[in-house]
Amino acid sequence: MRKTSLFNVISVALGLAFLYLPIVILVIYSFNASRLVTVWGGWSLAWYRELLHDEAMLSAASISLRVAALSATAATVLGTCAAVALTRFGRFRGRLAFSSMVYAPLVMPEVITGLSLLLLFVAVNAGRGFWTIVFAHTTLTMCFVTVIVQARLIGFDRSLEEAAMDLGCPPLRTFLTITLPLIFPAIAAGWMLAFLLSLDDLVIASFTTGPGASTLPIRIYSEVRLGVKPEINAICTIIVAVVALVTAAASLMTKRGAVKRERAAYAAQV
């Protein structure tokens, strides 16, 4: 018998309140009519309208979205390859070195990664800007994809792959027709995480950016340093809304996928 004690309920409730209250307050204040951020002047969409005319912010948003889409796609390909190598190749020489290199960026302080990548770009004389951010973000986010895909690769039944191979299916085809569809939810989740991490990153982008390539976080950061502004509340609210919608859609998708897979597995057993 599982007992839910009052202490447990309170700690979870307080924890969630702590996590959500600041964001809720931010969202509410983005609809504030008053220019003074702390005085409530009634509901208004003024700051959203102002945002529509903020060319610098809009172009920063477009750069950020393009960087995120490109780097997430590259990171998903690289990260999935690394995950397959780590789970399906057994013990190969240099495996420990490889896995340490894969996991290290997960906890590496961003200032170190950013500085080292910038110095690399300077050393090879690469023109800094849009593409250097894409390369930097790919490096940062591929390890997150690896971890997610790896967990899924370990979790599923290998006998399906083995059956295909035993029946003479070549490895590449086995991978494309059996493995890939099975790990697809993890790959999609990995891409999404990579996309959001890239959209979010300030430190590494600041180091590796060049003239004319300000991403949204760089732009927001330079505004925030000057103080709280209602326009910033508005752009933050838009980002929060987009992220919440995408996450909700993704979790619904994977849930439906999971139900379908369970049904298929059940049907196969019967």
């Binding site: 599982r2 839910t4 309920v9 700690s11 979870v12 924890g15 969630l16 996590l19 600041p22 964001i23 307050i25 931010l26 390859c81 190598a85 190749f89 057994g90 013990r91 190969f92 896995s99 340490s100 290199m101 894969v102 996991y103 290290a104 960026p105 906890v107 590496m108 302080p109 961003e110 200032v111 170190i112 500085l115 080292s116 990548l117 110095l119 690399l120 300077v122 050393a123 790919t138 490096t139 591929m142 971890v147 967990a151 370990i154 490895p171 590449l172 959001l196 979010d200 300030l202 430190v203 600041s206 927001i220 950061y221 925030v224 709280v228 933050c236 980002i239 929060v240 992220v243 919440a244």
Partner: protein, 304 residues
């Protein structure tokens, strides 16, 4: 271990492509950082000396090595600013990790003891803010903590304080920001181990007359140690190098090491010293990073 299947060119590419990428964009940059940390600042483009010149051949190589110096590191030791910011970073990371462990453990424990069908929802609610931009979450606290912000309004309405208190630009603000931002990283690994725990053990302890606090201390806590380790490392390591939170919420009198590195690089344009700071910071974090990697490898591969 199952027999490894025959590997063709495709399989080699699957391994080689990520390896080459990581060597080029993760390993090579560290070697460059190490090299530049041994260089001298110069008014040039790039702003350091010596510059490696392949065209000069062997003599170029020897003169390159002859010009390397430890000046950057000597400055780190001689100027107290750097030592203080390292200590400050360690202090902030240690204290906030302890607070995170306390809060995170009670949330994770509460979720693991909640009705089964509610658990996925609760976990998603904890993770959701993590998907939201880091910068936005820190910015949200400026709204609340500033002098005429919401926190002072609430405290004054409740007559807890009479005059507006200073919250922003203080260590308290840094701690609030860090704990807020890193909470999901602490809750998730803790929940993962607590959820897997066999409840029969707790019932056995209760049946044998063990009081609940003692059961927690003797059974639950030791069994959740892998989660505690993972959570602590996952928070502690990045917090030491944190830049955004102390920069936006903290005061300007004491800097954390991430800010010092940032200032040396962007404001002072002293690339060798910034590199030396990075190398020293990495050396400081090497042991926890290695422990974390072994934990991660064991966790992901021990499932087999």
């Amino acid at each position: 271990m199952t027999a490894t299947p025959h590997r063709g060119w495709g399989a080699c590419a699957v391994l080689l492509v990520p390896v080459l990428w990581l060597v080029a964009f993760f390993l090579a940059p560290f070697i460059i950082v190490l090299k530049i940390s041994l260089s001298r600042t110069a008014v040039a483009q790039p702003p350091y000396l010596p510059v490696f010149d392949l065209a000069a051949g062997w003599s170029g190589l020897t003169s390159f090595f002859a010009q390397l110096t430890l000046d950057g590191y000597q400055l780190l030791i001689s100027d107290q600013i750097y030592l203080f910011s390292y200590l400050k970073s360690l202090q902030v990371a240690a204290v906030s990790t302890a607070i995170l462990l306390l809060i995170g453990y009670s949330i994770a424990y509460g979720i693991a003891r909640a009705p089964r069908r509610l658990q996925p929802l609760l976990v998603m609610l904890v993770v959701l803010p993590f998907w939201t931009s880091f910068l936005i979450r820190v910015y949200a606290w400026i709204n609340i903590l500033q002098r005429d912000g919401l926190l002072n309004d609430v405290l004054m309405t409740l007559h807890i304080v009479d005059t507006p208190q200073v919250w922003l630009s203080s260590d308290t603000a840094i701690y609030i920001g860090v704990v807020y931002s890193y909470l999901p990283f602490m809750v998730l690994p803790l929940y993962a181990t607590l959820e897997k725990m066999d409840e029969v053990l707790l019932e056995a302890a209760a049946d044998l007359g063990c009081p609940r606090w003692k059961t927690f201390w003797l059974v639950t806590l030791p069994l959740s140690m892998p989660g505690v380790m993972a959570g602590v490392l996952l928070c502690f390591i990045p917090i030491v190098g944190e830049f955004v939170i102390p920069d936006l919420l903290g005061g300007s009198d004491t800097l954390m090491i991430g800010q010092t590195l940032w200032t040396e690089f962007f404001s002072n344009r002293d690339w060798p010293v910034a590199s030396a700071i990075a190398v020293a910071l990495l050396a400081l974090l090497l042991v926890p990073i290695v422990i974390y990697q072994r934990l991660q490898t064991r966790q992901l591969e021990g499932l087999r």
